[in-house]
């Protein structure tokens, strides 16, 4: 009895020896962010594990926009939300239609479109940024939020189409045939059979596009410039412009901005993980 239990303790200790560094490594930058957000300005630099007088003062300053860098906080938060939702909805619309046409209607040239989309997916986004900036300029869309929305749809759609096509291919052909036998039109098949069955994959794809747009920094700061039009990440980046930036306010704003995507991620984790890793694992 004694020996196996000793051995079990040893295994457990070895696992802890990995687990504890992993926990510290993961949480350190996040805790640092949190610590600054709840510390008064003077004691933020003291290097303590917990502030002597934790305060919500920083949050009040941010929410009341009481600092030069934060004078458009609510507007920028709204912009982030608007652009993320618009990107999510548009991507979902475009990608669902395309995946349905390719996978179920077997449209001519569908395979080619799928390959072109996959190719786009593998172009590093930063490589396309400069030409995209110029393109939006020639379309006269610069400084319009449409520029960012359309750019994000362009980036999010290829992977979305691919994921949707993969799950769509798994639906039995007999379903379509049965619907056709019953005299269903293509649109009825789409709305009454396809959309309900694809719901989990649609949630995954919609969330993916939404989070991608919410988190985007490079394209947002390239395509938008007016303080009232930019998204919150660009507003955060502006803090870097000066050496005497109020770091505790930057951290507080960053924390507020990081919470919604984390909440969305954990809410839809089930769909996200199965939907988004399935593609990569199936190799």
């Amino acid at each position: 009895m004694k020996l196996p239990s000793l051995r079990a303790v040893g295994t457990e200790a070895k696992l802890m020896l990995i687990g504890i560094p992993v926990l510290i490594w993961t949480l350190l930058p996040l805790y640092h962010l949190f610590l600054f957000a709840i510390s008064p300005k003077e004691s933020a630099f003291a290097g303590k594990l917990w502030p002597d007088h934790p305060t919500l003062h920083n949050f009040a300053v941010v929410l009341k926009q009481e600092h030069y860098y934060l004078s458009h906080f609510w507007q920028q938060l709204w912009n982030s939300l608007l652009i993320a939702v618009a990107t999510g909805v548009l991507t979902l619309l475009v990608a669902t239609c395309a995946a349905f046409a390719i996978s179920r209607l077997k449209v001519k040239g569908g395979r080619l479109v799928m390959n072109l989309a996959l190719f786009t997916y593998f172009i590093p986004a930063a490589f396309l940024a400069v030409p995209m900036y110029r393109t939006m300029g020639s379309y006269g869309l610069l400084n319009s939020q449409w520029a960012l929305i359309l750019a994000m749809v362009t980036i999010a759609a290829p992977y979305s189409i691919w994921v949707l096509k993969q799950s769509s291919d798994q639906l039995p052909v007999e379903l379509d045939e049965a619907a056709i036998m019953d005299g269903a039109s293509p649109m009825q098949l789409f709305w009454l059979v396809y959309i309900p069955l694809m719901a989990p994959a649609l949630v995954a794809v919609g969330t993916y596009a939404l989070l991608l747009a919410w988190n985007e920094y490079l394209y947002a700061f390239l395509l938008l410039s007016k303080d009232t039009a930019v998204t919150l990440p660009v507003g955060l980046g502006n803090f870097l412009a000066a050496d005497d930036s109020p770091w505790e306010l930057l951290m507080t704003t960053g924390l507020i901005y990081a919470l919604p995507p984390a909440a969305i991620y954990y809410t839809f984790k089930r769909y996200m993980v199965s939907g988004l890793t399935a593609g990569a694992v199936k190799s």
């Binding site: 993961t26 390959n115 490589f127 030409p131 393109t135 490079l218 890793t277």
Partner: protein
């Protein structure tokens, strides 16, 4: 009885199938539904890419580019970032995936926390790391000073350390995702393989060598290549941590384009990307062969 009942049904489907392919409403609807994406592709992929090549058409842009020490440095940095950074990241992910598949409730909880860096946006966390590394007030140097009484290194002012830190930031951010992928890969390996290996008296190393690795090898390779392609586009880890500095010595290709854009040298920005294509396209081709099945 059942077979005679089934027959007309089968006959029905046989009739429907070719008709459904020939019937124009289906193809028409297919075309209508695929047009939105095709339009987006033409307007926001084909046109910009063509425009980019057109900007980069002059040979003297390339001459200028090769003579720019910042470009050469960025190319080397990018290579280091990919070859060193990605391999370290994937090796850690491979080890950690073995840790996370252990059946313990506390490991389950840890895995939920472990995914956080990937789930939260990169801007606040990279800025948090940037501040931790501040040589004067950052928490890391304060700690070094308190423990040893000596000043810590000037993390972001030394190009080598700064680039290493950018790699660390990149690993911090994307390690959870790849660990998750490899966990999924490990969970797909049938448990009987390990059981029979145990019966044969295999050690843990032997189990990894003869059971885990052969099953994971393809996934590991695919993940490494995909991660390399994505990391080429990792703008944030470098830009938000070092801004390319000190003295533009920590740029990678992703941030270099923006530097040239700022300097109003768009042709150089595009030429730099064109120079990267011979290395990128084979990787892209490999991935497309993998995924287009």
């Amino acid at each position: 009885m059942s077979s005679t009942l089934a027959l007309p049904e089968q006959g029905g489907t046989v009739q429907v199938r070719p008709a459904w392919n020939r019937l124009t409403p289906w193809q028409t609807w297919g075309l209508i539904l695929i047009v939105p994406y095709v339009l987006i592709f033409l307007l926001f992929v084909v046109y910009p890419v063509g425009y980019g090549f057109w900007i980069a058409r002059h040979p003297h842009s390339y001459e200028q580019l090769v003579e720019d020490p910042i470009f050469v440095r960025s190319a080397i940095n990018t290579l280091v970032f990919l070859v060193v950074g990605i391999n370290i990241k994937m090796a850690i992910a491979l080890m950690l995936s073995g840790f996370f598949v252990q059946a313990r409730s506390w490991i389950k909880w840890l895995s939920v926390i472990f995914i956080l860096p990937w789930a939260v946006p990169s801007i606040p966390t990279i800025l948090s790391l940037r501040f931790m590394l501040n040589p004067e007030w950052g928490v890391i140097n304060s700690l070094i000073f308190r423990l040893t009484g000596e000043d810590g290194p000037n993390w972001l002012n030394d190009p080598t350390i700064a680039l290493s830190m950018a790699i660390v930031v990149h690993i911090w951010k994307s390690l959870p995702f790849w660990t998750l992928i490899l966990i999924a890969g490990r969970l797909a390996i049938p448990g009987e393989l390990y059981e029979s290996a145990s019966v044969d008296g295999a050690t843990n190393m032997q189990k990894f060598r003869y059971v885990t690795w052969p099953s994971l090898r393809t996934l590991y390779l695919t993940s490494t290549i995909l991660s390399m392609i994505w990391t080429l586009g990792d703008f944030n880890s470098v830009y938000l941590l070092t801004g390319g500095g000190p003295a533009d010595l920590t740029h990678v290709l992703a941030t270099l384009g923006i530097r040239y854009l700022r300097l109003d040298q768009v042709d150089l920005s595009m030429a730099a990307i064109v120079c990267a294509l011979p290395f990128v396209l084979p990787l892209v081709y490999f991935m497309m062969r993998r995924l287009a099945k």
